[in-house]
């Protein structure tokens, strides 16, 4: 599955919702080999026309599905499903069982995120990210038209 292009990576994206389909399409359009996994086949309709990777219709919490996606060859795994626990489980399996070098998981619950930081799983919490941006904006001095300074 290694791509001949030097800067190309083998990337597995779990979940093909708004975030997953966007990432998969973007990464594929940028010359990476991308495999996207989703339980719901219809969700693949959200992929852009530029997407040239593989789609696997299956449950990422099942080992057989991850094997089918050739997880052991992956350079990067991104878990973006709407369920924190699925993302956390798949991320850990990728890291500890398949030794994927870079593993990223979306976790909505910031409290859960803390615990997994201990385990060395890189998590991104949309809640914390949005909160930070809001707080930054709130702390900025007001301008007349509301634009940034």
């Amino acid at each position: 599955m290694k791509n001949p292009k030097l800067d190309s990576k083998y990337i597995i994206v779990i979940g093909c919702g708004r975030l997953g389909s966007y990432l998969a399409s973007y990464l594929s359009a940028n010359g990476n080999s991308v495999v996207v996994i989703d339980k719901n086949e219809n969700s693949f309709n959200d992929l852009s026309v530029d997407f040239s990777g593989f789609k696997i219709d299956g449950d990422a919490t099942q080992l057989s599905v991850l094997k089918k996606a050739k997880m052991k060859n992956a350079d990067i795994l991104i878990a973006t499903t709407l369920e924190d626990n699925i993302n956390l489980m798949v991320a850990q399996v990728a890291k500890k069982v398949f030794h994927v070098p870079k593993v990223l998981a979306r976790v909505f619950d910031p409290k859960r995120e803390e615990v997994y930081a201990q385990l060395g799983i890189s998590t991104i919490s949309p809640t914390s990210v949005a909160a930070e941006i809001f707080i930054d904006e709130v702390n900025k001095p007001n301008t007349q038209d509301g634009t940034e300074q």
């Binding site: 919490t61 099942q62 924190d84 699925i86 489980m89 850990q92 399996v93 409290k111 201990q118």
Partner: protein
């Protein structure tokens, strides 16, 4: 002892009843409102309706003082995360997760969570009980590293009529007890074997099959 069970269905109901009867304090966490109400009516356990992988819900269930947590929901990812949160954040000494997908048993163990699979247990029970009626697995000792098996010696067995000292048993196996006419005998080399004897065998999982074959005469 305080036990938290996360899950629903009959398993949760009967486990909770079982634990309560032993005098344990049981708290159930269930996601479904109607089922929670039903469980609360049927059981003396405290029932909390909520997501067991939510830290706030775990706190409400009194996870700080819990001795054990059992995660038996139908979703493996939830069971894993529940147990990890319980042990990493709240130092619960014993956590057990149900692996609905039997392949996940091994994965959970690798991720530091002790797990069991009903599929594994039931299928091995069926294999042990049904495939050979005259062979009965009594109990696995030391987490299945040692098997204790009872076998009825059939006429066709190559060992019938032989004294023990002339029987070559495969390595790592032993006839622990011989039961003849309901009388148990701890056999010595001079005891001979007769058809209809019940033997209690000690084997290791590696040679278990080979030992049984030697006794039944199969595969010769």
């Amino acid at each position: 002892m305080k036990v938290i069970i996360v899950g629903g269905g009959k398993t949760t109901y009967f486990l909770s009843r079982n634990f309560t009867s032993k005098g344990y304090e049981v708290v159930i966490i269930n996601r479904n409102k109607e089922e929670s109400i039903k469980l609360a009516r049927q059981l003396s356990a405290m029932v909390i309706c909520g997501d067991g992988s939510n830290i706030q819900v775990l706190k409400e269930a009194g996870i700080m003082g819990a001795d054990a947590i059992l995660a038996i929901t139908p979703n493996d990812q939830d069971n894993l995360v529940i147990c990890q949160l319980a042990s990493l954040k709240f130092d619960v000494p014993r956590t057990v997760a149900l692996a609905n997908d039997p392949n996940n048993t091994e994965i959970f163990e690798k991720l530091g969570v002790s797990a069991f699979s009903t599929t594994h247990i039931v299928s091995s029970l069926i294999e042990q009980r049904v495939s050979l009626e005259h062979i009965l697995n009594l109990l696995p000792v030391s987490e299945g590293k040692v098997n204790v098996t009872e076998i009825v010696l059939e006429k066709s067995s190559p060992f019938v009529g032989k004294a023990l000292k002339y029987i070559e048993l495969p390595e790592n196996s032993l006839i622990a007890v011989l039961i003849r006419d309901n009388k148990p005998i701890v056999p010595r080399g001079n005891n001979d074997l007769k058809a209809g004897d019940r033997l209690v065998l000690i084997t290791l999982p590696d040679n278990h099959g080979a030992v049984l074959k030697a006794f039944t005469g199969e595969g010769k």
